[in-house]
Structure formats: structure tokens, C-alpha cells
């Protein structure tokens, strides 16, 4: 079937000058990222529907975060070497469709690739593989590793006198991995202010609710203890995310974490896909229903 929302429609002329994006009037920026996020959600749904498997809930919970980063906050373009620009590390690699969707919406991937997710020889591997797609900054999938690489990149950028930022998106369940805290320790101790960690805090993981499987007691306090700058925001509010990321960059003394409260499978206010499941199969009925819902939101604004 034809997608009801065309993520293939080119975005208003991509302008990779960050100043241009950030200096637009705020309502313009919010309208743009809101529209792009909805297109990304449609792309995520179609990719996973056509693949027959994939992490719907985990991808949809971070589409807003990725959209704000990619289309408003990061100095990232497909053509610039990452050693001379911001870096985006998707440590929760199972949300790969959310990143691929942003690339499609941004015009860096052709819409014809939407049906290739998880197929043999595809650039759109089930988890990101930069040896097959160089629009991925880090191959990930086994959890807990992304922040360490972010720390290495940030140290290199500081050594070379670069002012770029390294953004790392991790899942909340992923914070159960011990290696994350090894990297948190180093970033805090070395005051790596060019590291920004965004935690997609959707509250659930593979086997169920995070609070039941292994709660993250005192999450904000933990980061503060390691001398991080901590913000706790609504991860579906683009305005809140923009503010938090700007604050994170403004803090020149510490690494920053943005704990973004999200919902697994988020499609819009009051609407989630697949009852917030981690990676359940998307049926035709559910797919079409979700696409119709997004179609109905086309002209809404997204504060």
C-alpha cells in the first residue's frame, strides 16, 4: 500500500548552517521539527511493517529526540566528516529505524530504501552498521558501548581544539549495563563538557517494565554524584528538548545528561502503537490504523 504520509517529499531546502536553524523564530522551528517527526514516525512504521520485524516501541519513543537533534540542534550533515562536526551515537542500536527515518526525511537516504530494512545486503541493517552505511556514526547493537566511544571522540576533539559536541542517545534499560557507568565516571572526572547524553527514559525494556525488572533508583542523583549536569524533561516536547540541549551546551564545565521522559510506541498525545511493546510484530490493521492517525495530525502544530 502507499504510505499515507509522504516522508519522500523533500524537506524545505535543507540548510545545514546551524545558525540558520537556531535563529529562525521559535514557532517556525517547532513547526518544522514537529512535521519532520511525524514524517519520521510514518517512515519508521512503514520500514518495520515491510520488514516484518523490528523494534517499533523503542524506535517511536525516541523519534522526537532524534528529530530535534538532527533537524534543529546538531551541527550534522551527511557530507561533513564527523571529525569536523558534531557526532551522533545511537547507543540503543535497536532504535535504528528512528535514525534511518530521520535520514530519509532529511533527504540523505532515498525513499526507495524504505523497503530494505533488515533485508540481506541492505545498508539498513537491523542494528546500525557503519561499515555498510557511513551515515551511521557508530555501529551499535550490543548495549552499553556507545557512551564509551562518545567519551573517546570527545577527548579527541578536545585534544584537537575542536568545539564540536558528541551526542549519545541511550535507552534507560541500557543504563543497567556496567560499562555505561565506567564511561560516566571518566566523563565526569575529566569534565568532558562536550559530551551530551540523552536518556530515552521510556520505562520499559524487553521483558517488561523497567521498574519491575531492575529499577534505576535515584537516576538523576547518580549522575550528579559523578559530577554531571542533569536535566529531566518531557522527551516528547520539542520545546523542552530544545531548551535542555541548549542548556547542556551552555554548561562549559561538565558533561550533560538529559533524562527525557518518553513513552514506548509514542505516536502522538494519547496515542501509542502496539500498546507500547518493545518489538512486537506490526499487523496490517495496526499499521494502517497508526498511519491514519498520523495522517490526521498533518496540519496540527506540535508545541
Amino acid at each position: 500500500m502507499q504510505p499515507s504520509i509522504s516522508y519522500a517529499t523533500p524537506v524545505p531546502p535543507p540548510d545545514d548552517r546551524l545558525s540558520h536553524r537556531r535563529e529562525s523564530p521559535l514557532p517556525t522551528r517547532l513547526a518544522r521539527t514537529g512535521q519532520l517527526a511525524d514524517r519520521s514516525r510514518a517512515a519508521v512504521l512503514e520500514m518495520i511493517y515491510r520488514a516484518g520485524s523490528g523494534h517499533v516501541g523503542s524506535s517511536l519513543s525516541c523519534v522526537d529526540i532524534i528529530s530535534v537533534l538532527r533537524f534543529d540542534q546538531m551541527n550534522w550533515s551527511a557530507t561533513r566528516p564527523r571529525s569536523e562536526s558534531d557526532v551522533f551515537i545511537l547507543s540503543k542500536g535497536h532504535a535504528a529505524p528512528a535514525w534511518y527515518a530521520s535520514l530519509m526525511v532529511g533527504g540523505d537516504l532515498g525513499p526507495e530504501e524504505v523497503g530494505t530494512l533488515r533485508q540481506i545486503d541492505s545498508r539498513l541493517q537491523g542494528h546500525p552498521d557503519r561499515t555498510r552505511l557511513d551515515l551511521v556514526d557508530l555501529s551499535t547493537g550490543a548495549l552499553g558501548q556507545g557512551l564509551s566511544v562518545a567519551v573517546g571522540r570527545a577527548q579527541a576533539k578536545r585534544l584537537r581544539g575542536r568545539g564540536d559536541f558528541v551526542y549519545c542517545l541511550a535507552g534507560d534499560g541500557e543504563l543497567q549495563e556496567g560499562q555505561i557507568w565506567e564511561a560516566v565516571t571518566v566523563a565526569g572526572a575529566r569534565r568532558l563538557a562536550n559530551v551530551v547524553l540523552v536518556v530515552d527514559h521510556n520505562g520499559s525494556q524487553n521483558d517488561g517494565l523497567l521498574s519491575e525488572i531492575m529499577p534505576l533508583a535515584g537516576l538523576a542523583e547518580r549522575f550528579r554524584a559523578f559530577e554531571w549536569h542533569v536535566q529531566d524533561v518531557n522527551g516528547h516536547s520539542h520545546l523542552s528538548l530544545m531548551d535542555a540541549l541548549a542548556n547542556a551546551r551552555d554548561n562549559q564545565a561538565q558533561p550533560s545528561v538529559v533524562i527525557a521522559r518518553t513513552r514506548k510506541g509514542h505516536l502522538g498525545p494519547g496515542r501509542i502503537a502496539l500498546n507500547g511493546s518493545h518489538s512486537a510484530t506490526l499487523t496490517t490493521e495496526e499499521y494502517e490504523s497508526a498511519m491514519r492517525y498520523l495522517e490526521g495530525r498533518r496540519d496540527e502544530s506540535h508545541p
Binding site: 557503519r130 557508530l138 556507545g146 564509551s148 577527548q155 564511561a183
Partner: protein, 313 residues
């Protein structure tokens, strides 16, 4: 005589003066892994991460992605224990990290098997883009270091703690993958890497007195050139592999695969560490595990006496 870890430390500091992209990631083992000299000269290029090897591997991958040439050094046993992190952050990203694993083999002695690099080669040779380098002496260590700083591929550099004799002329040039014939003999060819190479050479006089003159080949880098190795095998009837590593998964498996792939009609024997290892004086350990000179004489004598007619053809 010096240990290859010492040659490495000197070479690293020397090369870093002309290669500004060389950086070091340390896990609280700068003295043992001999990166302390680098730290003294280039402190701003030395990144301490504490006792956290998984993180060190990731940090090094990030440094490499930014165009630097990071050396992350620890005991080989600890470093390659972070196999999942090496697989993904280094291997699957093709990140140009040099993983430096020291204290290969039984030589750490009294600290025992939790510190011994005895299965590091087995792990690293599963990764298709990782080059394994295991120098046998100072000449080869310095040559390998020049090779390593000249490219950006993931590398595992395996180093020994014990002093080793120089087996190469100072004019020797290292060629990646090339089997390095140190002694030409007949009937039996011995393949080895690192520590046992010198031990085999030390046994040549005793063996000669018994009428055994093995060809001795230093296989100091993997993957090895299969055609060149096969040509050497072709000139012999018996192949013996001896390694200071678990007998499963290491050099013997690499060579056996090549011999079988090419259909060589030779008798094949391998010797290494068959169990987890144990603590003890290194001299006692090498004697117990028959990886010393007497052990080499024993293995090659019994192999020479074996009736090849009964070997499967």
C-alpha cells in the same frame, strides 16, 4: 636480552615524537605494559581511564574515529576478555585501534591463570579485519611498530613479559603475513610464534646430535600467507606447531586449516597448554607444560620416531 614489551615501550615513545596522532589509553597498568615512557613525554596524549577495560576499548574506538591512532594497552588476558566490546566498537566499526596485549603465555608465572594471556589469539583471530602481530624479538618489535603506525586498521599486538633472545639480523624487514624461516632443515617443519620460537632454536644443537634438523618458522603475524606457508609445508613430511597459548584455537588451528584446505599429505602434531594453566615459577611451568627446551627435544624426537606409514593418508 629484553622482553618485547620493553622494546614496544621504547618504540612507542620514539615513534610518537614524529607521529602526533599516536595516543595511549591506559587502564592503570602503564608500568607493566611499558607505556609509562610515553606518558612521561606526551602526558596530554595519554588517557587514563582507570581499571575499566571495556570502557578503554570504546574510548580508543572513539579516538580512532576522530583520526588518531590509539594504543590501548593492558594484559592481553584482560583486554581480550572484553571480546564483545572489541567485536563491536572496534571490529564492526573498523576503528583503527591498536589493542596491545602484554603478558602472553605462562610467563607471568606465580600470578597464575587469571593473569595469563593464553587464549587471546584464539579470540582475536575470529575477527575478520583484525591483524594479529606477535613479535619474537627487538628487531621485529620495532619493525612491527613502524608497520602499525603506517596504517589505520584494527590490530592486536601480542607481547611477552619474559626476556627473549634476538633471532633476527638488525637488517631484517617485517612483511605482514609472510612466514619467517629462521632455520632451514628437512623432514619436519616447526611453526611457532613469540616465546617458544627462541626455545626451539635453542634446542637445535641437541636435536642435531640425534639426527633431527627441523625447519623453524616464525609465524609472527596472522592471517598468514597461506600460499607461502603451503610451499614450506610441501617440502616436509611432518608439521609441528608449538605455542605458549591454549592448544585449542590458536596458531595450530590456523595452520591446520591451511594444511587441510590445501590437501597436504603430511603428519601433523600440535603442542600448547591443554588446561587452564596454574601458578608457579615460570621455569617450573614451562618444564611442566613441556614448553621448554627439553620439551621441544622430547616432542620432536617422538615425532621423528613416529611411523608415518600409519598416519592417515
Amino acid at each position: 636480552m629484553k622482553a618485547t614489551r620493553d622494546w614496544f615501550g621504547e618504540s612507542l615513545a620514539d615513534l610518537a615524537a614524529e607521529h602526533e596522532d599516536i595516543v595511549v589509553v591506559n587502564c592503570d597498568l602503564a608500568s607493566a605494559t611499558k607505556t609509562a615512557a610515553f606518558r612521561a613525554r606526551f602526558p596530554h596524549r595519554f588517557f587514563e581511564v582507570g581499571i575499566a577495560e571495556a570502557n578503554a576499548v570504546g574510548v580508543a574506538a572513539g579516538l580512532a574515529q576522530e583520526g588518531l591512532r590509539p594504543f590501548v594497552a593492558s594484559f592481553g588476558h584482560f583486554l581480550t576478555g572484553k571480546y564483545l566490546e572489541i567485536f563491536q566498537s572496534v571490529g564492526l566499526n573498523d576503528a583503527g585501534v591498536v589493542l596491545v596485549g602484554t603478558h602472553a603465555g605462562l610467563a607471568i608465572g606465580k600470578d597464575g591463570p587469571t593473569q595469563m594471556g593464553l587464549r587471546d589469539v584464539a579470540l582475536m583471530r575470529t575477527l575478520p579485519n583484525v591483524e594479529i602481530l606477535h613479535p619474537v624479538d627487538g628487531v621485529e618489535t620495532r619493525e612491527m611498530m613502524r608497520h602499525v603506525v603506517g596504517h589505520r586498521r584494527p590490530t592486536y599486538l601480542r607481547l611477552c613479559r619474559q626476556p627473549q633472545r634476538e633471532v633476527h639480523d638488525p637488517r631484517h624487514r617485517f612483511v605482514p603475513g609472510a612466514p619467517d624461516v629462521l632455520h632451514a632443515g628437512r623432514d619436519v617443519v616447526v611453526f611457532s610464534m613469540g616465546g617458544p620460537v627462541g626455545v626451539v632454536l635453542d634446542a637445535l644443537d641437541t636435536l642435531a646430535a640425534r639426527g633431527i634438523t627441523p625447519t623453524v618458522v616464525n609465524v609472527s603475524s596472522l592471517p598468514v600467507d597461506a600460499a607461502a606457508l603451503g610451499d614450506i609445508v610441501d617440502a616436509h613430511r611432518r608439521v609441528f606447531v608449538i605455542e605458549d597459548h591454549y592448544v585449542r584455537g590458536g596458531l595450530a588451528d590456523e595452520i591446520a586449516r591451511i594444511v587441510l584446505d590445501r590437501g597436504h599429505r603430511v603428519a601433523f602434531r600440535a603442542w600448547g597448554v591443554p588446561d587452564y594453566g596454574q601458578a608457579g615459577d615460570p621455569r617450573d611451568l614451562y618444564a611442566r607444560y613441556r614448553l621448554d627446551r627439553d620439551g621441544v627435544v622430547h616432542h620432536l624426537t617422538s615425532f621423528a620416531d613416529a611411523d608415518l606409514a600409519t598416519a592417515p593418508r
